[in-house]
């Protein structure tokens, strides 16, 4: 049985300023969030993310968990996080959407992180919808 981990930290890691844009949306919809960090690659200079990733991990206690939301699976941001950041207590989710980030930020800290992430991914996939078709389907059902 794993020991209970209560302290969760979150990192949104993106190419450019998407991360701060996501944070702006989060602040409006769910309010300010503690323990949320941003990593915005290649905004000022074209340097490796190694330093920033390692600095974050240095501040991460063994009893803490870090959940990373990265923009693209296969993108250089995700790749560098994997390369420099993969640990037992680091959980990386690539290709996030806003609903996924919100669900994970708001999840009960007592629920195991693996479960929180799996469920949030299932729900996030359901959130990506061609709305026009959905409306057509609903109308047909009502007829």
């Amino acid at each position: 049985m794993d020991k209970t981990v209560n302290n969760r930290k979150f990192l949104i890691a993106t190419h450019g300023t998407l991360a701060s844009g996501v944070k702006s949306s989060l602040d409006i919809i769910i309010g300010a969030t503690e323990n949320l960090f941003l990593l915005q690659a290649y905004v000022e200079e074209n340097k490796s993310l190694e330093e920033e990733i390692l600095a974050l991990l240095k501040a991460l206690g063994d009893d803490e968990e870090l959940i990373v939301f990265s923009d693209l699976l296969g993108g250089s941001v995700t790749n560098q996080i994997l390369l420099y950041g993969l640990r037992d207590n680091v959980h990386i989710v690539a290709g996030f959407n806003l609903g996924l980030v919100m669900e994970i930020l708001l999840a009960d800290a007592e629920t195991p992180v693996e479960q929180v992430i799996s469920e949030a991914i299932t729900h996030a996939k359901e959130q990506m919808v061609y709305v026009n078709k959905l409306l057509t389907a609903q109308n047909t059902n009502n007829d």
């Binding site: 919809i29 309010g31 669900e103 708001l106 409306l135």
Partner: protein, 156 residues
Amino acid sequence: MIKLTRIDDRLVHGQVAFTWTPSLNIDCILVANDKVVKDEFQKMTLNLAKPSGIKLLIKSVADAATFLSDERSKTLKILVLVNNVKDVAALVELVPEITSINLGGLRSKDGSKLISKAFAVNGDDIEIIRDLLEKGIELEVRQVPTDHKKLVKELI
């Protein structure tokens, strides 16, 4: 029982679905609005915004009051949503259980002024609000549950 009565002109949307519903353990969202109840398109869009596993009821203000006064609604944990100040006053009149109102969001309209970041009222609204305050109803502004309650009597 009523867990929260909220004025929010977006009715069911992100703040409601992602923050209020889980934080109050809501199992039923009741939209009380005379126009929406007759508008199939709006009903459909509200259903799309509904969090999964939650019952969404859309009723006229009068029918909503009847539902809230019915014993059968007492076992539910209900979030009541209206999109204007007038409707909330009508509900308060009909449903004595409502003693506190959350002011969530009301976008600016002609002749309105902001009393907080996301809540704009006009002269008619203020008159109704004063009347509610006089009746001893608590009116508090919070967009999301983690905001600090701001009491309306200190804002108007």
